[in-house]
């Protein structure tokens, strides 16, 4: 994915090719023979995913965005297993610009679904690292539990994430995050936080 245009302003990188690669990369990737057992690998990505969770809990969105590659995807499928975003509506399927739109909206002060804001704590566990075709990429599975308090009570959102990390210079950046809610195909009340 080469940056010819500023992905925060225009969206040129969401193409048929991107969708094809995305569906390919997120199909049947948690295979035993691809698992990377080395504890330092697991620690590296566990720390990154835990940091992401903390930044989202603390609404530190700029730092959160900086964890992502410039051309990135945040995808919450509405179909168990992911489905095909070319042919199906997702709960959300954000490129860089839409991620920034989402944050911009939350910061307007007029996003009534988040006024008052939810308070969240996210727990991350069961982190497993898998090799990808590209040696400078990793696929990481983690389980999550988000406790969300807002106005009249606390509720729980749970599921698992698939992160695709890519190595750029010395840093590992998130290229794709797929968030698989266990109840993704059921009606959700006020899904207005960044899940």
């Amino acid at each position: 994915m080469q940056t010819a245009h500023d992905p925060t302003i225009s969206s040129y990188y969401v193409t048929e090719e991107l969708y094809r690669e995305l569906v390919e990369n997120f199909t049947d990737w948690q295979r035993e023979e691809l698992a990377i057992a080395a504890p330092q690998e697991r620690d590296r990505f566990r720390l990154l995913i835990e940091r992401e969770a903390r930044l989202l809990d603390e609404l530190r969105f700029d730092e959160w965005l900086a964890m992502y590659a410039p051309e990135c995807i945040c995808w919450v499928p509405g179909t168990p297993g992911g489905g095909d975003p070319r042919r199906e509506i997702a709960i959300s399927f954000d490129d860089r610009r839409r991620m920034e739109d989402r944050i911009y909206r939350l910061r307007t002060g007029y996003a009534w679904s988040q006024a008052p804001k939810s308070r969240t704590v996210r727990m991350i566990s069961n982190v497993e690292v898998f090799a990808a075709k590209d040696s400078a990429a990793r696929m990481v599975r983690s389980n999550f539990l988000i406790s969300e308090f807002r106005v009249d009570g606390t509720r729980f959102l749970s599921g698992w994430c698939g992160h695709r990390f890519v190595q750029r210079a010395e840093r590992w950046l998130i290229e794709v995050r797929q968030v698989n809610l266990i109840d993704c195909d059921r009606n959700l009340r006020n899904p207005s936080i960044i899940i």
Binding site: V14, D101, R105
Partner: protein
């Protein structure tokens, strides 16, 4: 397990349906006995109880979600014989299916033996439904097929009363499937009446007038279902409830004209309008605000993942033809609201499903275009990929704020002593509301006349004592 075949219904012969109507025997309070409805629903306001009272909700489940045509699903969700989806008619769980002969039926999802639901999956394909509890099995016509160890029964299982109950009247309008338990309801076509015109226009902008349902944004709120229906034609709330969305989608625009920006300056006098079309249906037509030309809709569509790439690629390949194709990925500026639970808006099919007096599911089914004869110059997959992303925008950034406001209405309505909710915008202003020769009432898009009119129809229905029936195979 030994099972016995019935003497009928297993051959290849199509089953003739005879209306075998049976009255529901459960005693039921007539609507007229419950409240003084004319006090609850007045010319300019309604009482809070219509949103908060469980007894009224319970009556709605028969007098509205039973006695009128209620939307159940789209034919593209059950494309082949034996396909089914599970849906609800009010609170009744149903299996909506195409039987082995291709007939669309809405079976009560309920074993005649002990009441167990027969089908627990959201969708699938089945010729036979076997009850998981005691193994009674039924053909997808609803006819009892077999019961385990029938020698233990002294009855005649040929008696139709053992066949699954089904909704007696199921009909489609151009792919949209509706059903009613009311034998005295008008035909679906008569019920829809004048609202068929905007429905036709909405469909006819799609190639061959066809769409395919492609998953959904599924939302829920803690509030009465009518709050969503009140809102569906409301042009007054837009710049306030959706202020964050309007600011968001225009944050990078050179000219702030994206999305619903046309609401911002004096929406009272804008060319858009609201029309009340009878039988509780209303139609907010925002198309007059948009330049009518190929590419006119795309020009005001907010940013979506892939917007620039797809527009450039299609224009490069198809030239001027690309504009009309890009319009297919753009939101159609209409709200076509069919009472009580169905809306077409943008490219969505929105369905309201009551769960309890203060809980409602709102499901925004996405739609894709279908291009069987290549009219779109090979662009169908691209335009659908883009159309998925444009459709995700409003449920994510607009609807969530409306739903939060509906919840806060429900919370506010706990103030028992402050009884009234007003819907009188436009009332009593000479020349503002116009009625044409066909009885269609139009007014500025910010007017609440559609609420006043539909709630009159609601009141009429709630006063009635409709005779609801189910049907069973003979």
């Amino acid at each position: 397990m030994a099972t016995s075949r019935q003497g009928h219904g297993c051959g290849g012969k199509p089953v003739e349906i005879e209306a075998m109507l049976e009255k529901l025997n459960a005693p039921r309070l007539g609507g007229a006995d419950l409240y003084e409805w004319d006090e609850l629903v007045q010319e300019d306001r309604v009482h809070r109880l219509i949103y908060t009272d469980p007894a009224i909700f319970s009556l709605e489940m028969t007098n509205i979600f039973g006695a009128v045509w209620v939307y159940l699903g789209h034919e593209s969700q059950i494309p082949a014989n034996n396909d089914y989806i599970t849906v609800r008619l009010g609170l009744r769980p149903l299996i909506l299916l195409r039987d082995s002969q291709g007939k669309i039926r809405a079976l009560f999802n309920r074993c005649t033996h002990r009441g167990t639901t027969l089908c627990r999956k959201d969708r699938g394909s089945a010729r036979i439904f076997t009850c998981p509890y005691h193994g009674w099995s039924y053909l997808n016509t609803g006819k009892l097929r077999a019961v385990p160890w029938p020698d233990g029964y002294g009855c005649d299982f040929n008696d139709p009363k053992y066949n699954v109950a089904q909704v007696p009247r199921v009909d489609s309008y151009r792919g949209f499937i509706f059903a009613t338990l009311n034998p005295d309801a008008p035909s679906l076509l008569d019920y829809l009446g004048a609202i068929t015109k905007p429905i036709d226009e909405w469909l006819d902008r799609q190639p061959k007038g066809q769409i395919r349902v492609c998953e959904a944004n599924r939302l829920k709120y803690k509030g009465n279902w009518k709050l969503a229906y009140d809102n569906s034609g409301d042009g007054y709330h837009v710049v306030f409830s959706h202020r964050s969305l309007l600011e968001m989608e225009n944050r990078q625009a050179d000219v702030a004209n994206k999305g619903m920006s046309y609401y911002k300056n004096s929406p009272d006098t804008a060319p858009m309008y609201i029309a009340y079309m009878g039988n509780g249906h209303h139609f907010k037509d925002k198309r007059p605000n948009i330049q009518k030309r190929a590419g006119g809709l795309w020009a005001v569509e907010g940013p979506a993942p892939g917007s620039e790439h797809y527009a450039e690629a299609l224009r490069g390949r198809l030239g001027a033809e690309a504009e009309e194709i890009l319009d297919l990925a753009s939101s159609e500026p209409v709200n076509i609201n069919v009472f009580p639970n169905f809306s077409l808006l943008g490219n969505h099919i929105q369905v309201f499903e009551p769960i309890s007096v203060d809980e409602t599911d709102v499901t925004w089914y996405g739609t894709a275009v279908v291009d069987e004869d290549g009219a779109l110059g090979g662009a169908v997959d691209e335009i659908n990929a883009l159309r998925m992303r444009t459709q995700e925008q409003f449920p994510n950034f607009g609807e969530v704020d409306d739903l939060a406001n509906f919840e806060e209405i429900q919370r506010g309505l706990a103030c028992q002593e402050d009884e009234w909710i007003y819907m009188h915008r436009g009332l009593g202003i000479p020349g503002r509301v116009k009625t044409d020769a066909n009885g269609i009432i139009t007014a500025p898009a910010t007017d609440e006349v559609f609420m006043r009119e539909y709630i009159k129809e609601w009141k009429r229905l709630m006063k009635a004592t409709p005779k609801l029936v189910v049907q069973r195979e003979p």
